[in-house]
């Protein structure tokens, strides 16, 4: 099993990146909509968007760590 462990980790990381990818898309898309509707609130929306992206990323980052551990 040793020689396929690297490939399995790669596939696992790829799978782990699907969910956060979709999630970040939703966060950023909705932030763009909010900024277009209320440009005066753009600063606040942008900060919140970065926070949302940062929290959504967490699962992808854990996948990244597992890739190194595996």
């Amino acid at each position: 099993m040793e020689e396929i462990s690297g490939a399995l980790a790669l596939i696992g990381y790829g799978l782990a990146a699907i969910g956060p990818g979709i999630g970040i898309g939703i966060v950023a898309g909705n932030a763009v909509q909010a900024m277009a509707r209320q440009p005066e609130a753009a600063g606040m929306v942008r900060t919140t968007m970065f926070l949302g992206i940062a929290f959504t990323e967490a699962l992808a980052l854990i996948g990244f760590v597992l890739f190194f551990i595996a």
């Binding site: 926070l51 940062a54 990323e57 854990i62």
Partner: protein, 293 residues
């Protein structure tokens, strides 16, 4: 005014032209690679990009390039603030005004904007990590340095541990044991769900937070450094061996152009990751200062 702007554009353009010229004049040596056999030489280990040899050692402590760059980043951060604010003036110089904008951004948008009026107390810490991470990240795209110190896990991990200690200590100092109680037994959730939500909150606050804070910075910089190295180096290797492989070398131009595009993108990533690390540190401190929120 007009000539000044044109001059500045020429300077910027010259800077980006200089890098390809320098790389072609001094190509990075491809190790253990026989271009006559196969032009695409596999790098031995990706780790080699991040390992720096020991330069000298002081009493058992080996000092390598990454450590020296770490000190350089700290000195640059101190130097920027020192030269900008050593003599406060009514009308600041251009450089002073730029640094004031940076400090004002961290204070108003991050420290006070996130933590609230009591956030100014945390400005020294937030500004220090912001500048240190920013300079460490920008080393990635600085010619002749080309090594982001934040791509060594030790530095993001250490900064993340410091943030962790600050928000845990502030939480216990401000709320006593109620801080822990508020996390493992949240009052805003129906009683039946409290053990489950409490467990999730506990794991997310005390384990996931420091881990993701460190890994986010580390992963972004590792990915950027690997991408830049592969694209720019393969571009140079292809073009430098044009004599051996003939017309196929033109693909090197494409790799190099893509590398330069990623180069610009990495500047944005460096700024953004420094901002996000500082922002998240502020958010974590804020949840300890006002835990009911």
């Amino acid at each position: 005014m007009r000539t000044g702007r044109i001059g500045r554009r020429l300077l910027l353009g010259g800077f980006f032209l200089l890098i390809p010229v320098l790389l072609i004049l001094f190509p990075p040596e491809p190790h253990h690679c026989d271009p006559a056999q196969d032009i695409i030489c596999r790098p031995e280990f990706v780790n080699d990009l991040f390992e720096t040899p020991t330069i000298f050692s002081i009493g058992g402590f080996a000092v390598n390039r990454a450590m020296l760059l770490m000190f350089l980043a700290a000195f640059v951060a101190i130097g920027l603030l020192w030269f900008a604010f050593r003599r406060p003036r009514v009308v600041p110089t251009k450089f002073g005004a730029a640094m004031e904008a940076v400090v004002g951004f961290v204070r108003d948008e991050i420290a006070i904007g996130i933590i609230g009026p009591s956030g100014a107390k945390y400005l020294p810490y937030l500004l220090s990590i912001f500048l240190f991470i920013l300079i460490g990240n920008l080393f990635e795209v600085t010619p002749f340095i080309n090594f982001p110190i934040t791509s060594r896990m030790a530095i993001p991990a250490f900064l993340s541990v410091v943030t962790y200690l600050i928000f845990v200590i502030v939480g216990f100092a401000k709320n006593g044991l109620g801080y822990l109680g508020g996390i493992v037994w949240p009052k805003s959730v129906p009683v039946g769900l409290r053990p489950l939500v409490g467990l999730i909150e506990f794991v997310s606050t005390f384990l996931i937070r420091p881990l993701t804070l460190a890994v986010r910075l580390f992963a972004n910089l590792v990915a950027g450094h690997v991408m830049l190295t592969l694209l720019l180096a393969s571009g140079v290797v292809f073009i430098a061996h044009a004599g051996d492989i003939g017309a196929r070398a033109t693909i090197g131009i494409g790799w190099f152009a893509l590398g330069m595009a990623i180069f610009l993108f990495e500047i944005v990533v460096a700024l953004l990751q420094a901002y996000i690390f500082t922002l998240l540190s502020a958010v974590y401190i804020q949840t300890s200062v006002h835990p009911e929120h």
